[in-house]
């Protein structure tokens, strides 16, 4: 099974970032796919938490929303939303947060609020939801986003959730004790913050992708680490698992077009 799409490579590379010991706060969409592929392959005992209150959930199909019944049905337990944010997230019980976003900058700050001025936005996006506090209160953050000039921008119009701020020791200066974004997984490559400057740097390139493609698709002058490796291609097990869950999910969500 050698053929795979860039999105499949991204999801599988993101899944590999997780381990059995992770207690993971899962965002909807690509993060949810990655976390469940991890659970169904190399990390069967990973704890997945969704902000609707479900703890230790094992969905058979990926949820369309953050609170699908599937999440509660398969969870170890379910708590209220205030408890989720106060005891479990702010209480420091979650090792890893998994986020996506509309835009990201070179220090892994994320925007999901507005494009253009806040009072007169060109595009009004959904907003932060849980992200501002997930970004500061989880032990570390993984981010998954397709690499594009629209998404990877030189300057964000709005910082919804802080990554490494202005870089360097900015997080420590604001009193944060968590690591912040430690890895950004795209459809072309994997980025990690430089240990000193905290600027996102390419550390791994997916099979068949060139450095030129990466440079062309990033909105800032992207840097490469001294040692760049090639991301291992998806295994048969990883691909089969992802495709199976995607097929189950598509079938489950289509149903009858009742609104139409």
């Amino acid at each position: 099974m050698s053929d795979f799409t860039p999105t499949e490579m991204m999801t599988i590379a993101a899944a590999r970032a997780l381990s059995n010991d992770d207690v993971c706060f899962v965002g909807i969409g690509a993060p949810s796919a990655a976390c469940n592929v991890a659970r169904l392959t190399h990390a069967p005992d990973i704890t997945l938490i969704y902000e609707s209150g479900t703890v230790g959930t094992k969905p058979d199909v990926l949820p369309l929303s953050i609170g699908d019944g599937e999440l509660c049905d398969t969870a170890l337990f379910t708590v209220s939303v205030p408890e989720m944010f106060r005891y479990w997230l702010q209480g420091g019980r979650i090792t890893t947060g998994f986020l996506g976003g509309a835009q990201i900058d070179r220090f892994a700050n994320l925007n999901t609020t507005v494009v253009g001025p806040y009072d007169h936005p060109k595009v009004r996006l959904p907003g932060g939801g849980g992200a501002p506090e997930i970004a500061s209160n989880c032990g570390r953050i993984f981010i998954t986003m397709a690499l594009s000039k629209r998404g990877f921008v030189e300057k964000l119009p709005f910082i919804t959730s802080m990554g490494h701020g202005e870089g360097g020791d900015h997080r420590e200066r604001l009193g944060m004790k968590t690591k912040g974004p430690t890895r950004v997984i795209t459809d072309l490559c994997i980025l990690e913050p430089d240990p000193q400057t905290k600027e996102l740097t390419v550390v791994s390139i997916h099979p068949g992708v060139t450095r030129e493609q990466i440079v062309e698709n990033c909105g800032w002058a992207i840097k490469f680490a001294d040692q760049v490796i090639e991301t291992p291609a998806p295994t048969d097990l990883e691909l089969t698992t992802l495709r199976d869950i995607n097929a189950r999910t598509k079938k489950a969500h289509q149903g009858k077009k009742e609104a139409a």
């Binding site: 209150g53 369309l64 699908d68 708590v79 939303v81 009004r124 932060g128 709005f158 604001l174 077009k257």
Partner: protein
């Protein structure tokens, strides 16, 4: 003691023009039937509050019932934008919408503060984020014991909170199960409350002594509206219609198709029309 009344009476008695109204439900148990009754009764100048305004608030905004909204995430989950919300913010159609935006953590804490009769909530939040620059209701407070600077937001105290739940007994005690969201806090924070329920039973038969129950004396009105959470869901009764949420994107994208949908499915419709979505009653509740 909660009064058990029709949905029309519940809304007529409790929701007034200009009110601050919270219709809560975190994906689960969203009170669609009650929201539609608010539209049918022509309430206007409402200030809407909700953590995750989804299609129901898109509809209230689209018909021009809202003057403002306090929220933390305004989208169609897993699908994309709320087009009526965006049209109001980006183009002031059908009227301008004043927004006050927070994070989920802040909204959850603010409801809890309201339920606890406190003036504000403190949280370790918004660090390094831009929202405090555009929302004057996000301030800071210094801990008198440690000196740590924390975010502070005002308590939420709605005039009326509306929620949907699985069942009530004949006295008006209400049982909620599954994803319970922020409903308990939103009801206890409000001056008045409406709970619509899937069924009214002789005995609540809670599944465990620690089940989430809102006692009759903490609720204003209860109305029997089977299927009243559709297209969201009622755990144990019927599933979320993800197909409806996907299909809504096309309807809401266009002002005319939205208006036609509202006329046919809300204005020319009745609460009883929700009953067909109610599904079968689970054996354990029989």
């Amino acid at each position: 003691m909660a009064k058990i009344v029709s949905l029309a009476e519940a809304v007529g008695d409790n929701v007034r023009d200009g009110d601050t109204v919270a219709m809560e439900g975190f994906t689960h148990l969203i009170p669609y039937a009650a929201g539609h009754e608010v539209i049918r009764q022509g309430r206007k100048d409402l200030y809407l509050v909700r953590m995750t305004p989804d299609i129901l608030y898109d509809q209230l905004i689209g018909v021009g019932a809202a003057r403002g909204m306090k929220f933390s995430w305004g989208g169609n989950p897993g699908v994309g934008s709320l087009h009526r919300f965006r049209d109001a913010v980006e183009n002031q159609w059908p009227r301008p919408l004043e927004i006050e935006e927070h994070s989920h953590a802040a909204m959850a804490n603010a409801y809890e503060a309201g339920a606890a009769n406190l003036p504000f909530a403190a949280l370790r939040g918004y660090i390094g984020a831009d929202l405090p620059k555009v929302n004057p209701n996000i301030k800071s407070v210094t801990c008198p014991f440690t000196g740590e600077v924390l975010a502070a937001v005002p308590a939420i105290r709605p005039d009326v909170t509306i929620i949907h739940a699985q069942r009530a007994d004949r006295k008006g005690n209400v049982l909620i199960e599954g994803i319970v969201g922020v409903q308990k806090e939103a009801v206890l924070a409000a001056k008045r409350s409406i709970v619509t329920v899937e069924e009214i039973v002789d005995e609540l038969n809670p599944p465990s002594p620690n089940s989430l129950v809102l006692p009759s004396w903490a609720v204003t009105s209860v109305a029997h509206v089977p299927g009243g959470a559709f297209p969201s869901y009622a755990h144990g009764y019927y599933p979320r219609s993800n197909a409806f949420y996907i299909g809504w994107d096309e309807i809401a994208r266009d002002r005319d198709s939205f208006t036609a949908w509202i006329k046919e499915n809300v204005l020319d419709s009745r609460p009883e029309d929700f009953a067909k979505h109610a599904g079968s009653r689970p054996a354990k509740a029989a």
